[in-house]
């Protein structure tokens, strides 16, 4: 049981479409500004209005901010889910609810405390507009929580002032609602509760950002000029953010012209086609999508792979197959992306774990796509992409020069006796390319049909094989250029734990918990594919390793078995794939259960 300062979990149960997101975000942001490690997870339905939605906030002074599975405080604002929500409160915890209507007796629990606040009543008394009455209930419970948890009122007021600068009436209503809840709690409850907040300075140099915004910034800074997409949750906000940043930074002040072109394509087949067309012409172009879109892009990913055209694809993964659970998170596109398309294809994957890496890896995606003249897929997910994360401040090195790979200039071509597209490979097995419009001597026909190393059409077995063998070697070389794995070792480690992406906070917390129980384990997080040799070495160093990932079929484990020589029985799985972000408990239980066997 958690008591005391800066260590608790709070869950808010709402109805979607009622304006709760704004109040919940306000709370999370205020705690962030108090300098306390915090995370906020939005567990929302695939629906616009009327279905249950939850928001979880975890506060932890030691920086453990993976999802908690037991709640110290539930704000139960959705009568439809009262029963479930109240059941989830840990013994000795608290449940706040709208007491404008009596709570069904069957929901009573002896072992928890109830905090009734007549929110609807308070708002009906103080606000006239019917819509305002509904919206302000959210801000009123936020006010009650400010009192109950000792959130810094000055910070909350400052946030309201920022949000509603220029909208005085709105700001006033919000302040009033906040006060209503605050005062009611102060007068009626024993504030603060046994768990509460106290300012820290853990967030100096940190920002609050979601992965999709960071990804869009990466694409902006990398110099992407063409973007094509088809709307899909949870990737849509990548392009929304990119559009906003472009409007801000890419409009030429003198001419009013846009140094970018975003195309909402007719489908994902078209989106990837547009990206390939733009990259074929030498631009930096990308598309953002999710699993169903990747499925549709498969054919052209093979074309780009075989004809050696760069392309950047951002896959913000969600729960599949099919429409699956589009507003829930998973890491189940890994296999599909690694080998996307028919024929022998293999791609470069970048696997960020948090928004800061989304920014860095987005930039890296363009560099690698152009360096290796091949598609690069960055696999984010809904948890990373759409939730706000406390992340280190993003940094940019002004000396950055985009790696455009081997592209021949007019002068180069002038000097070349004769240009052949797929010859003259370098140490990474990359051949120089020529762009249209540069020089007649660079002209050739790009084709997805069989071609020899000179770029000519072929159906001759040896000529065909020569080219695809080089492609395999080229892809292998990329292992030395993708981000290295993150490794953390412990003395006397008995086994290794390998993971990817947004599992990191839960796995790191789990390993600390296990270490406290004298079960130390080494940690490795894979950040890129093809696998760097240090990953295989790590596997061999340990008698066995657990692979923690969020999909049913243990896709990362399969990929490790396929792409390294490690025997199958040395790699075990810990899986969680129900659609919610991972928690340390999932990992600890999963590992202990198998160790006991």
């Amino acid at each position: 049981m958690r008591t005391g300062v800066n260590d608790f979990a709070l869950k808010l149960a709402n109805v979607n479409g009622t304006g709760s997101a704004s109040a919940n975000g306000l709370l999370m942001q205020a705690i962030f500004r108090m300098g306390i490690p915090v995370s906020g997870k939005n567990l929302f339905p695939s629906n616009i209005q009327g279905l249950p939605t939850w928001y979880e906030i975890r506060v932890n002074k030691d920086g453990y901010t993976a999802r908690a599975l037991d709640y110290d405080l539930m704000v139960a604002m959705n009568a439809q889910t009262y029963a479930q929500d109240i059941r989830e409160v840990r013994s000795g915890g608290y449940a706040m609810y709208d007491s404008s209507w009596p709570l069904d007796r069957s929901l009573a629990r002896e072992d928890i405390h109830f905090l009734p606040v007549p929110l609807a009543q308070l708002c009906n008394e103080h606000f006239r507009d019917p819509r305002e009455r509904i919206l302000m209930k959210n801000i009123a419970y936020a006010g009650a929580l400010v009192a109950a948890l000792e959130i810094d009122m000055a910070i909350v007021e400052e946030l309201l002032a920022e949000r509603f600068s220029g909208k005085k009436a709105m700001r006033e209503s919000n302040r009033q609602a906040l006060r209503l809840g605050y005062e009611y709690a102060e007068q009626n409850f024993n504030c603060p509760l046994p768990f509460r907040l106290e300012k820290m300075d853990a967030n100096d140099g940190k920002i609050l950002i979601d992965g999709n915004t960071a990804t869009a910034l990466g694409c902006l800074y990398a110099g992407a000029t063409v973007a094509a997409w088809y709307p899909i949750t949870p990737a849509t906000s990548v392009m929304d953010a990119f559009r906003q940043f472009c409007a801000k930074y890419r409009r030429d002040k003198e001419t009013g012209r846009n140094n970018y072109l975003i195309i909402q394509a007719e489908d994902e087949l078209a989106a990837i086609g547009m990206v390939i067309g733009a990259c074929w012409n030498g631009a930096r172009a990308f598309t953002s999508t999710s699993g169903p879109g990747i499925s549709l892009m498969n054919e052209l990913l093979g074309l780009a792979y075989y004809s050696e055209i760069p392309a950047v694809v951002i896959d913000v993964q969600r729960v599949g197959p099919s429409t699956g659970m589009p507003t829930r998170t998973q890491q189940a596109d890994l296999m599909e992306c690694a080998y996307a398309s028919h024929g022998d294809t293999k791609h470069i994957l970048l696997l960020p774990a948090n928004p800061a890496e989304c920014f860095d890896f987005a930039v890296k995606s363009f560099d690698l796509a152009e360096k290796f003249q091949t598609p690069v897929i960055m696999l984010s997910d809904l948890d990373i992409g759409m939730n706000d994360w406390v992340a280190p401040r993003l940094t940019w090195d002004d000396s950055y020069q985009p790696d455009r790979g081997r592209v021949l200039s007019a002068e180069d071509l002038e000097r070349t006796p004769k240009f052949y597209r797929y010859s003259d490979e370098d140490e990474n097995h990359v051949a120089p390319r020529s762009l249209a419009g540069v020089h007649e001597k660079g002209a050739y026909v790009t084709r997805g049909s069989g071609h020899n190393k000179l770029g000519g059409y072929t159906e001759t077995p040896s000529e065909y094989q020569q080219v695809v063998d080089r492609l395999a070697k080229k892809q292998k070389s990329a292992a030395n250029y993708v981000p290295l794995p993150k490794i953390a070792r412990r003395a006397e480690a008995r086994f290794g734990v390998i993971t990817i992406g947004g599992c990191e906070p839960a796995v790191e917390e789990a390993l600390d918990i296990l270490a406290e129980r004298e079960i130390p384990a080494d940690y490795l997080r894979i950040r890129g594919f093809p696998f760097h040799k240090s990953i295989e070495a790590f596997l061999y160093e340990h008698e066995f390793c657990f692979v923690v990932e969020q999909n049913r079929d243990a896709q990362l484990r399969s990929l490790l078995i396929l792409e390294t020589c490690v025997p199958k029985d040395r790699v075990r799985s810990v899986l969680a794939y129900g659609g919610f972000p991972l928690s340390a408990k999932n990992v600890v239980d999963g590992i202990l259960h198998q160790l006991e066997k």
Binding site: T225, R393, L435, A436
Partner: protein, 351 residues
């Protein structure tokens, strides 16, 4: 333009255009299509048109999908980049290529299978976006490359080589394009170079997406009696709606003269297009009347050819998006990246 007049050449292949290039400079590799294939005649018309408009070979981009027709970019202008892409996907690839580099001239070659079945949606959306490109459908009513299955342009009753009649309604790319706002719509016949060359030249000058549906008989799978896409059938049922005469921008004086019975349309690049309409009152700038006329002729079983419709008033993809005149691919990274201090400033908001 060269200032010294070239001596008149006796052999046409020795004639030089404004760039000093002969027609041979616009040729490509040897065709591997069946002898007599309509597609090869279209290739010849393309070569002619590009030579006549003095296209810089390396400023041309030849885009195609998959099919016998889509193979043809290899058979013209060796000095131009080509992209023989994937079945039906050429329109988005060309759209992306154009987005990146508006400085090139795009010519897309497609087939009726490529454009009217697997890639129908893409073609429609390229039309809607008014991507500046010449878009050819080399229309033979069949899938040539996969050996003669009916395509979506096969007419009801048209017979396959084995004699089975097609029973599925056809998609007419001309009517379709007109209905979704296409800004340049033409139909021609691979056997009529006289008609096709000026249409191609006008299409190159057009402000946006220029669709040319070209009946192009497949001698191997669809040139028998009973086929409605054969040489014979087309010759017997063709009526010409317009005769287009293309006047490049360099000769404005000629263009100013507009004899009666002729419609003059000023193209985006300043060139002038003269239409001699064969049926009286045919106005190629009036979408409704063009549509009505085509429907009426279609019901009589006639194939109307010519430059059927043109509208130079609609902006292309770049204009609509306020893209700079400079191709995006040439904008330096320093102009695209806001830099570290701006990143620092922006992040003040992320707290």
């Amino acid at each position: 333009m060269p200032s010294i007049a070239k001596p008149a050449a006796t052999h046409p292949s020795l004639q030089r255009n404004q760039l000093g290039l002969t027609i041979r400079d616009y040729e490509g590799s040897m065709s591997t299509l069946c002898a007599g294939c309509g597609h090869d005649s279209i290739t010849a018309a393309i070569v002619r048109a590009l030579w006549e408009v003095s296209m810089h070979p390396h400023m041309l981009a030849k885009m195609s999908g998959i099919g016998c027709s889509s193979k043809t970019p290899a058979y013209f202008v060796n000095g131009a980049h080509g992209f023989n892409s994937a079945h039906g996907r050429m329109p988005p690839i060309a759209t992306g290529a154009s987005a990146a580099n508006r400085g090139l001239t795009y010519i897309g070659i497609s087939g009726d299978g490529d454009s009217l079945s697997i890639g129908l949606g893409h073609m429609c959306h390229a039309i809607r976006r008014n991507v500046k490109m010449v878009y050819l459908i080399e229309n033979n009513g069949v899938y040539g490359l996969t050996k003669g299955q009916f395509s979506a342009s096969a007419d009801v009753g048209s017979k396959s080589k084995r004699g089975e009649p097609n029973q599925t309604l056809p998609i007419d790319p001309v009517m379709l394009a007109l209905s979704i706002g296409a800004t340049f719509v033409a139909r021609s016949f691979s056997g009529d170079k006289e008609q096709l060359v000026p249409i191609l030249k006008a299409a190159i000058a057009h402000r946006g997406f220029a669709l040319i549906d070209i009946i192009s008989p497949c001698v191997t799978f669809n040139d028998h009696s009973g086929s409605t896409k054969s040489y014979l059938y087309t010759r017997q049922h063709e009526i010409k709606a317009t005769e287009a005469d293309f006047v490049p921008p360099e000769k404005p004086i000629l263009a100013a003269i507009s004899p009666s019975g002729i419609t003059a349309v000023t193209m985006h690049d300043g060139s002038i297009l003269h239409f001699r309409s064969v049926p009286a009152n045919y106005d190629p700038t009036d979408r409704k009347r063009v549509t009505d006329y085509l429907l009426a002729q279609q019901s009589k079983g006639e194939i109307v050819t010519g430059l059927l419709f043109v509208d130079e008033s609609v902006g292309d993809l770049h204009e609509v998006n306020q893209a700079p005149d400079m191709p995006l691919v040439h904008v330096p990274h320093s102009k695209l990246c806001p830099g570290s201090s701006e990143l620092e400033r922006l992040q003040q908001e992320f707290r």
